[in-house]
């Protein structure tokens, strides 16, 4: 069965949930793209940026770029959660349905300045981009 980048997103969430230190730290949970207003801090947001396909002889490689960000009310918490995300994902072997993970590595930081949320609180957003290579047979 061939699968798409949706399976990669599912694998990312599954892996984040299976990592006990990370799951304990992100009180507000894991959100795709955007978290609702009332969610407690800190929380994690992931976003699939792009996932081009490359068909080789007999196999298909998907190179997915996923942003993973931590949001917290102070910079230290945000950095700590970001470090836990790094520990969990950099070099990890993700379990992706129908695909074999070749590489999962952090390729860039996304440093963000503090901003004000809807309740007037200062929020820190820190994270990084992760490149996930998967392979599946055609």
């Amino acid at each position: 069965m061939r699968t798409t980048s949706t399976a990669i997103k599912r694998g990312v969430v599954r892996h984040a949930r299976s990592d006990v230190p990370l799951k304990t730290a992100i009180v507000g949970g894991i959100h795709e793209g955007f978290a609702p207003e009332k969610v407690r801090y800190p929380f994690m947001v992931y976003n699939l940026v792009v996932a081009p396909y490359a068909d080789l002889w007999g196999s298909r490689v998907i190179v997915a770029l996923v942003d993973m960000l931590s949001f917290a009310e102070n910079g230290v918490d945000a950095s700590n959660v970001d470090q836990l995300i790094l520990n969990a994902f950099d070099g990890a072997q993700l379990s992706v349905d129908g695909q074999t993970t070749l590489i999962c590595r952090r390729i860039s930081d996304i440093p963000g300045g503090p901003e004000i949320d809807s309740e007037g609180k200062k929020i820190y957003q820190i994270g990084g981009s992760y490149e996930i290579w998967t392979d599946q047979s055609l």
């Binding site: 793209g33 976003n47 940026v49 081009p52 770029l65 860039s108 996304i110 949320d117 981009s129």
Partner: protein, 351 residues
Amino acid sequence: MAIDVNYLLEAIQAATKESVENGLLVIQARAQQLVPVRKLYKSGRGKRTYILSGPPTTMSARQLQKAAARHGSGLSGVTTGAKNMQSYWKNRAGRQIIPEGRSRATVGSLKADVLRTKVTRGGRTNRLERGIAGQSIQKERIGGTIRGRVNSYAPVINSPIGVIGGEELRHWAGKGVMEIKVIHAEGKSFELTDLMTSRGRYEMTSGRAVRTVDDKHGEPHQVIGGRLHDSIQPSDVFSDGAETYGFVSASAVDPFSKTNHDYAPDQEFGSRHNRAHPFLRPALRESRRTIMSTTRGPIQRAFQSGVRPDHNSASARPIVLEVQFDSSGFRNAYREVATLWTGTAPPSEGK
């Protein structure tokens, strides 16, 4: 075999520079397709709308809008003048104009004839489309204001501000226009805001999305929207040792922001308030294969124009092409590196 190394290196450097320039343009074009467009008008998404600015550019947006309506200058594909005006636009690919139907509509307090048209790719295989296009243009002609044939590359409209045609009309309509609305206002003008979404009205009255740009003749035009889209620009191409690189950047600062906040990174990476709509990084990655394929050609031709070297010669060394993805103030410096061999094959495959 004699090799003029200097000549060869110069040819390769020129070809490399050309390749990187082309690559940056590919990325720019794709990023401009992907960049999110704020919906300012009730019409189709992605439409770029221009105000022809007869009045001074220092006027407020609202004054400008009223003046534009009074003077009969208009928006892309929308008439606001006292006379009948139709406009349509086609590009050189030979797109056809297909009217979708005509209806009576109320625009603000005025009644207007609204003719919806759609511009699609041309092609003589679709007999139905060709027929509709031909008949409808004839049928819907009002006051004989359209001159030129249906499939003409140079449509001309006769508007209250004079005859507009050719390149000027294309510029007026904007490049991304895929749907054009033609409105016959029955001798009266109406306000631009009636055509806008609530978001568009806010942007218009606050003046946030109104800006001045120069056209290719250096004439200033008032434009609504498209700040982020137009900010996506390639840099010059630089050389540093063996590396040749350039970058594509985007930056859009809200003119009313006290902190000079740049919302390009917010679109690219998301924020606490809005989810991300990445456009630069997808453009880079999706264009990578195209760039690689277009890069090899000029360099290999440069090689073949000189003396073909042995792989063991000094000139058979890798050239690193770096497409850097960065801008001043951009929060994420992002680099992609493509390494090419200047020979026809890597050394391992040579002798």
